[in-house]
Symmetry: C2
Subunit: 468 residues, 2 copies
């Protein structure tokens, strides 16, 4: 199925771009496409205006100098059927419908219009994204009418039944240095459905990992078969909205979806090998881990940090996620026993040794040993940010040197950092986010808590165990 | 048991305060006590110095002008037994031992010294906090040798077997406007144990809520009986370190504790009515909720926010936590149907209506109705921070006006906000933390995610259900 024109269009008609205010939709899309220097042509369609945001406006598709590769439809629902026919006439077969007011409002008129969208599209062989959605997003093409602007190019594919969640996801990934190849907010999925997009992204060589947010599902059996195939080569990380009865009812008003809360989702995730996440945080964390980390050779975690209570509860946290915190090899222990103070610290796994905060070279030596230790499958390094209540353990932030040393270690086992800054102190929140971002941009995932790190590592381990 | 002198001492002898460097312990405690303007007298004990940090130093307890109310012992483990005898001789019965190197290092010498600490203390009737811990903390007394400096006075009591975790907790609570009356880091709990402190804080009229972090427990039966009693009047929020086998083994090296991982902790939490948390985030969140919110009349949550996907997954998140998202009364629905746009929004519960972000008065009207709606037990308001990827929904932050309006509503049902800013963008992290802090300081709890908000509300609901 050729959906490329949705993501790499040479020209876009924005149908319903107001010249009077920067409404959400037509004119805001146009504004953002201009802001992100979309390299193709932009044709605002507005029968009453000569210009919109400094661009020549056209009265309709028929007056355009060429058939646009894609039309973004931002006009009221009742005009959509005629617009689809206009598109077919003009030779534009790729249409994104932003407009709401179809089956999701659950009125006879809404359902009638939804049917018309479907029948006209089938008859005229139109590809339609939506209605009731944000549509396509592709940073490499400068196609960022919504989401992170400018976008960050990368190898994530996103298929989502929530525009809001996808906007946030693209932004979050941006700051963590995880780039997106294509994202699509699919709305009511009337013509093109989630399976069509999944198949498309499966075949897309630029995409390595697929993130999905789904509310409804028409053909569970096909989803299972397809997802199982996709997961052999590309991890699929799926957030299923409407798992609960109330969520399912809400999904019906949101995208008109049958959320299938009776469908055996647990069995589906297990059989398909799809990674199951339940929140925005979990979604982002898993994508960060999958996009930066190699395959773990085992589920034994080596916990490196400082603080006795921390060591105890971080162990608990890993075990709670189904990971192990194994004993280290003799070789590793020999070094640790030589270097870790007997009093106030603990040599072993977890390692409670404040030197790791202050001395990047020492941390590097420990990591080097851990990478050779057969009991260690993954490593979590806990870092504390200097703050007033603590005794200072360094003056200048050693993070750049830590990154340098880790990069110098050569092939490494999955290694992540935890930097806790969720204390309500705005200054600390900023510093913590900065330290995490710095590590993430260097492809060393960093999480705001052990719980989130362990959960992401468990997902990574599970995926690779099922797909060796 | 009279432990008051630990928290409101008129004079403190800091035994082992180095004049040469600001080591962790003696001199850092002294430094921080000076910094926080401790109003009592500070006596550094250092036989080799004339002055420490500008204060006259003494060669020993015997040379002090008066018996200090409390001694903080920061000398090597092998000197501790003699120091205890000195204290007894001088009439100082309240001693905090920071020093490590006792049973937690699991050597014959460590165990021998631990036994000596116990036998001397019993024989001389000494009250001893520790060894191997940070000791007491009391903002109202200016006693902040560690933890948030300056501390924030309030009504939380903290009993913890981890100094590090307690430092962080006091800091986190500070920025959320939740004040602490007394905190104690109890270490190996050789003489005074967790039950002694619990009994003490139970009787303490200044304390309303008790936070605990426990690794070991000597007498589970007594803990159960006592905790059950305490919970009748004061919520106890307990983080149990060493729940897993590995965590328990680590606890043994940390505080020499038998973590009792075979003990039926689940049954304990259930029978005692103690609130069970499993991470720093969950601990802080529960304390924030308990300290700000009234008793919920039911577990029905009214979800107010904007965004369809958000509405679906926030419903899922509440149900996942065992809460309800009920239908609203006709009266509430009548207003909503009048004011919520039919297209692109959803009137009901969850409420998907962007007006609530921009119009505090409108939010106030909805809250007013919700407080009269019998199906609503609690309210969660989701707020988005303006960011580049979104269409702007307000120019100036309406949070101050929102706070004003909520305060003007009079008696209210438990109402919390969620402000998500965990995207890795340091600027957003700071803005989000600022918005949350602003709400929290106005006694309106704000959390960084729906999951965390729902978990805290579930704890609040459970406590009040068990203790009507």
């Amino acid at each position: 199925m050729d959906l490329d024109k949705f993501f790499y269009p040479r020209h876009i008609a924005i149908v319903g771009a107001s010249s009077e205010s920067l409404n959400f939709g037509g004119s805001s899309f146009l504004f953002k496409l201009k802001e992100s220097n979309f390299p193709g042509k932009l044709y605002p369609i507005n029968p009453k205006a000569k210009e919109v945001l400094g661009l020549k406006a056209y009265s309709g598709l028929s007056s355009l100098p060429e058939p646009p590769d894609m039309a973004m439809a931002c006009v009221p629902a009742q005009s959509i059927p005629d617009l689809l026919k206009d598109c077919a006439r003009r030779g534009t077969r790729h249409i994104h419908i932003l407009t709401s007011g179809f089956k999701e409002i659950n009125t006879p008129e809404g359902r009638r219009l939804e049917s018309l969208v479907e029948s006209i599209s089938r008859e005229k062989h139109l590809f339609v994204i939506g209605p009731n959605c944000m549509g396509p997003y592709c940073p490499a093409a400068g196609l960022t009418a919504w989401g992170a602007i400018p976008g960050l190019k990368g190898s994530i594919g996103i298929i989502s039944q929530s525009g809001g969640n996808t906007q946030r996801l693209t932004e979050y990934l941006y700051f963590l240095g995880v780039g997106v190849e294509k994202a699509v907010s699919i709305g009511n999925a009337t013509v093109l459905n989630s399976l069509d997009y999944l198949e498309y992204m499966w075949q897309d060589e630029k995409i390595d990992i697929i993130a999905m947010y789904l509310e409804g599902i028409d053909d569970g059996r096909r989803l299972l078969d397809l997802a199982r195939e996709v997961c052999r080569t590309k991890p699929v990380i799926l957030w299923k909205g409407g798992e609960s009865g109330v969520g399912a009812a809400t999904a019906s008003s949101h995208t008109g979806s049958m959320a299938g809360e009776k469908w055996p989702w647990d069995a589906f995730f297990h059989q398909a090998g799809v990674t199951h996440v339940r929140s925005m945080d979990e979604w982002v964390d898993a994508l960060l881990a999958f996009s930066c980390l190699p395959k773990p050779e085992g589920k034994g975690v080596f916990l490196i940090g400082g603080g006795g209570g921390n060591s105890v509860t971080n162990s608990d946290g890993c075990i709670h996620q189904g990971l192990d915190v194994p004993e280290l090899s003799e070789k590793t222990m020999t070094l640790l026993k030589k270097t870790v103070p007997t009093v106030g610290s603990i040599a072993g796994n977890p390692l409670d040794d404040w030197q790791v905060f202050a001395d990047p070279a020492y941390l590097g030596r420990i990591l080097g040993l851990a990478y050779q230790d057969p009991s260690v499958g993954m490593v979590v390094v806990d870092r504390l940010i200097p703050r007033k209540a603590f005794h200072a353990f360094y003056d200048t932030d050693p993070t750049p040197r830590v990154i340098e040393i880790i990069h110098g270690l050569g092939p490494r086992k999955p290694t992540v950092f935890t930097v806790d800054s969720e204390g309500g102190d705005p200054d600390l929140a900023q510093k913590g986010a900065e330290m995490r971002a710095r590590l993430c941009l260097a492809k060393i995932p960093a999480f705001p808590s052990l719980e989130r790190a362990a959960r992401a590592l468990r997902h990574l381990y599970d995926y690779h165990r099922k797909h060796p």
